[in-house]
Amino acid sequence: MNTKDVMEKIGLQALNKFEPREVDGVFVSDMLSDVMAGAKSGNLWVTVQTHKSIVPAANLVDVSAVVITSGKEVPAETIEMATKHDIAILSTDLPIFELVGKLYGLGLVSK
């Protein structure tokens, strides 16, 4: 399953253009330090953080996409930076807990 499939199945909104990438597990955290320590290449990173510093963190661990939950407005500079560094930013109105339920429903497990 790639990022585009996940996006379509759950009804996520894409905030920038991206090349679909294989999704390998999910990582949920709002803490950059947590992501640095725990997320793996190909993970879908789910967070409410919208500050542009999520981009370097996402880049560092090479996640397949960042999903911003709770319908948070994402600053333009975050999106701009993400696009520049080839990081897909998706968005949903669901809070983290509900989104996780749906992702699990797709058969995604944490890796």
Binding site: S33, A37, S53, V55, P56, D62
Partner: protein, 180 residues
């Protein structure tokens, strides 16, 4: 016996805070790792240290899963992502060079003031780069970690620290100030 092709793994992970202290007397900045989020102000000789920022981070060591070699990283304060703010900064020049190869540049910071005189050795930065590259799909892009003394003027640097700042705030996060 051939040398071990180290496969690095994070170990001894400890979550905590980087405390940024500033002295109102000498205007010096110093940083340290603390497991607690302290906000104390204290006097030390002529200096009065008060905390300016308290960012969440974590400490870790890297260990090779093959040969168990352990490399301590307790002198690493954090990583900064170069955003290319200064045209003539050496980091920016390197960044431009590497960008074509889809290699992203990160700057490693040590704690202040020790790292000014005692920077993180280059071999450790290589290990750190290796570790992160081992975790990613390097066919898409790589990362490279360079020492912070390449930065032309720290006071002007607008790079992005990969730290959690303001997470404890009960107010919605506002635009964060540069740390230096």
């Amino acid at each position: 016996m051939p040398e071990c092709q180290h496969q690095w793994k994070m170990t001894n992970i400890e979550f905590g805070f980087i405390v940024f202290e500033k002295c109102s007397h000498c205007a010096d900045l110093r940083t340290y790792f603390s497991p607690d989020d302290t906000w104390d102000e204290y006097k030390e000789g002529d200096c009065t240290w008060s905390i300016v920022e308290n960012a969440q981070t974590f400490r870790f060591d890297l260990q090779c899963t093959e040969c168990n070699h352990l490399e301590k990283f307790n002198d690493l304060m954090g990583l900064l992502f170069c955003t290319g703010c200064l045209e003539d900064c050496e980091v920016e020049l390197l960044r431009k060079k590497y960008e074509a190869e889809k290699t992203w540049l990160l700057v490693a910071f040590g704690f202040l003031p020790q790292s000014k005189t005692n920077p993180i050795p280059a071999y450790k930065l290589e290990i750190l780069s290796d570790h992160f590259n081992q975790r990613r799909d390097t066919s898409r892009s790589r990362i490279i970690i360079v020492p912070f003394n390449l930065i032309k003027d720290i006071s002007l640097c607008r790079g992005e620290f990969i730290h959690d700042v303001g997470m404890l705030s009960l107010e919605p996060p506002e635009e964060r100030k540069p740390l230096f």
